[in-house]
């Protein structure tokens, strides 16, 4: 309770010192993959390993969403046969994974990032272009 209260209030009252953007990495094609290079602005705030672990997990989740496997083929064929009407009632595999990603990011924020004065924004809110890391000013934490 106290943690969520502080999270919400941090978002509204703490001044934003900087925003760091982790861009997409297109070396594997058009699949959703973010750069794992550790940005220098976060050096003082978070452990490099931890941050890279978060980004790597996110990349794996997106890869799972876009995977060309039997499940996606069955879903696609079934949808085609029903003239895509089932999309009105059923949630696609991609959407299910996006929900998983949202939960993961919320978890990471609560456990790791908010106590360090950082906030990860779900990339879907930025059109899957960037992972936005909001860096809050230190003053409220050091008081």
């Amino acid at each position: 309770m106290a943690e969520t209260h502080s999270l919400q209030d941090m978002r509204q009252q703490a001044a934003v010192a900087a925003k760091v953007f982790i861009q997409r990495d297109y070396t594997n094609g058009t699949v959703c993959h973010f750069q794992t290079k550790f940005p220098s602005e976060l050096e003082s705030r978070i452990d490099k390993q931890q941050f890279e672990e978060t980004v790597r997990t996110l990349n794996n989740l997106y890869a799972e969403a876009e995977k060309l496997g039997s499940q996606s083929y069955i879903e696609g064929c079934l949808a085609c046969l029903t003239a895509y009407i089932i999309f009105l009632c059923m949630e696609t595999h991609y959407e299910k994974v996006l929900k998983k990603i949202a939960k993961y990011i919320q978890e990471q924020n609560d456990k790791i990032y908010t106590p360090r004065g950082l906030l990860l924004t779900d990339p879907i809110e930025r059109g899957l272009r960037v992972i936005e890391v909001t860096v809050f000013e230190e003053r409220s934490l050091t008081r």
């Binding site: 209030d9 010192a17 094609g29 876009e66 991609y94 272009r129 008081r143």
Partner: protein, 499 residues
Amino acid sequence: MHLGVSESMRECEYSQISTRSSTPMETPYKHRTPKRRKWESFPGRNKFCCNGRIMMAKQTGVFYLTLVLILVTCGLFFTFDCPFLALKLTPVIPVIGGVLFLFVLGTLLRTSFTDPGVLPRATPDEAADLERQIDVVNGGTGYRPPPRTKEVVINGQTIKLKYCFTCKIFRPPRASHCSLCDNCVERFDHHCPWVGNCVGRRNYRFFYMFILSLSFLTIFIFSFVITHIILRSHQSGFLNALKDSPASVLEVVVCFFSVWSIVGLSGFHTYLISSNQTTNEDIKGSWSSKRGKDNYNPYSHGNIFTNCCAALCGPLPPSLIDRRGFIQSDAPQLAPPTNGTTMYGATQSQLSHMCDQDQCIQSTKFVLQAATTPLLQQQGSEPVVLTASPENGCSVPGRTSLGQPTPPTSTPSLSCHEATEMLPIHGQCHTHNHSHPLQEPMAHHHFLTPEEMPSPPGMLPCGSPLGHSHTIQAGFYNPASQDSLHEDSVRGLVKLSSV
């Protein structure tokens, strides 16, 4: 340790000013404006229906033509040809025809109404971050540099990612900016006027299914209408057959011309799918061997079967633009480097829309404050406190009192310049439109943003903004010396500044 930190944070929270507490200016604003959905302020040139559920291009005339052609031709077929064929041959014919017709209609509507994979435009923070990175690369030159590109190696091929000046992003590979819809679209194939939408990553399979099923339907109708006419001519002669069923002639004509184009298009797209190319890439010859021996398509999966499966049965990504979401007004903003004032109350998308307008409004208010201060002192009327309401989150001067106009964060020289331009317009409006002091002047002011103002070669020296506008208004208001007119102008100015 952690508990101690959170406790001290909690103490901080209660001692800080809570932004949720309603100020007199904020609550009426919040009550006045209902929550808007994101599609209502979408920057691209698109049409939205059913409260954001349906998304199309702006020009939909040809789409309605497609719809009419299909409906009329099929309608005529079911009405005039099917009864004869069902009796003479088999009732399966209208059933198959019906199934094909419904499939064609379903895929057409799906193609036309689905978001093709539009990439949302960059938030102002993102755009600023990218600009900073590009400036670092370019060596920090002031003028606008040539088109920006970024190179990336995908599967051994060097691909140039172009920067989109409209959307302020580096376009992902295979994305392209549609000039008709004014959006960047992922895996952009082409803009199809027949379906009234772009064809991109999210609706390509529907488009392909549409043209494939339409080819089958066209061939189906064409062949069975010919069969119908032949059977009738066996019965009563060729001319009589045509007389008995005139609709068939129309159907044959429509189908004849459609078959060539639709079947040809289906064949072309079958080729594109099997080689995993887009129409855009094929037309440009991006992956043709003519460009070089080592030129190959880096996106192809290697074999035709996998390419087809990936294009038609692969995972369908959801829409990135969240049309039906509500516009959030409490996102954390970057603190600007001004004298302690912070931005609050606006989303970044709103900011990108409203900042220019708001800068203009704030500049206007400053000018009006500066102008009315000496006027009211001359008049000797009761002191008026000119306040600026904190609307839309741009930097706010705060409550001001007479004699101390606080300039907005835009440079004083700009607002001086605006003073020279705006006062005459404003004055004219007042003399002409006595009853509408608010509407027209605001409309005029809306267009005079700081960017649009041409900077004169020799800028008027702006020592003190107050003094400058004082001299200007002194020169202008002398002709309007009648008391009532003067009073009305002042009242109008004061009213405007308190908007």
